[in-house]
């Protein structure tokens, strides 16, 4: 597994873990005696920082960080991610009109909750696009 694949897997891992912790904190916010949000944020940082060692390790000392094929794959993944941002922005711009009505208003605190996940989703789509292009490999990949 080369560095580009590892980075994509790491990105998906960080996103998934962040979503799970966020959902857990949201559900458990009114439960007494649970560890504080600060505790979970520190744990999240430690757990996501540890795999950096995994990212730095190369298949071979002479292996380049990225070759021409890796750059092509990353370029296509960026295009995928960019298109997804457009689609998601269009949806989040149009959907509220049908959900709350054309004359209604949305509180300011809701805007980050609506827009920031677009960036996170775009990161996830980028990572998935990278991994899909690399494929699952086959027995030749073991040599």
């Amino acid at each position: 597994m080369n560095k580009t694949q590892k980075s994509a897997i790491y990105c998906l891992f960080v996103l998934s873990l962040g979503i799970m912790i966020y959902i857990y904190l949201f559900i458990m916010k009114s439960v007494p005696g649970k560890p504080s949000s600060t505790f979970w944020m520190v744990m999240y940082f430690l757990v996501t920082a540890a795999p950096f060692i995994f990212l730095r390790k190369k298949q071979s000392p002479n292996e380049p960080d990225a070759d021409e094929r890796d750059d092509l794959i990353k370029k296509r993944a960026v295009v995928c991610s960019f298109v997804s941002i457009w689609i998601l922005l269009a949806i989040t711009s149009i959907a509220p009109r049908f959900i709350v009505g054309s004359e209604a208003s949305i509180p300011a605190w809701a805007l980050p909750l609506i827009n920031l996940p677009i960036l996170l989703i775009a990161m996830g789509i980028y990572s998935i696009a990278v991994l899909v292009q690399y494929g699952r490999g086959d027995k030749d990949g073991e040599k």
């Binding site: 080369n2 694949q5 298949q59 071979s60 002479n62 292996e63 380049p64 990225a66 070759d67 021409e68 094929r69 890796d70 690399y134 490999g137 030749d140 990949g141 040599k143």
Partner: protein, 74 residues
């Protein structure tokens, strides 16, 4: 319109050269092992520069390693 197709003899040449590993060829050509795998499987056509590096790793001419077959469908 003529239909073109690229083929290569990378895998055969690798075995003919003391059973060179994909990793070994990747190091000589300055690319990753995954790129060598994709080239051998015909899933990726290397750039001119990489094609020359791979040919030189085998001590061969580029046209002996990579072939361009123009298949005309008329």
């Amino acid at each position: 319109m003529a239909k073109s197709e690229f083929t290569n003899s990378v895998r055969r040449l690798r075995f003919e050269n003391d059973e060179m590993s994909q990793q070994g060829l990747a190091e000589k050509a300055g690319c990753t092992r995954q790129t060598i795998i994709a080239i051998e499987q015909g899933k990726y056509n290397p750039s001119l520069a990489l094609a020359f590096k791979i040919a030189r790793a085998f001590g061969q001419k580029i046209e002996d390693v990579f072939q361009y077959n123009e298949d005309s469908n008329r």
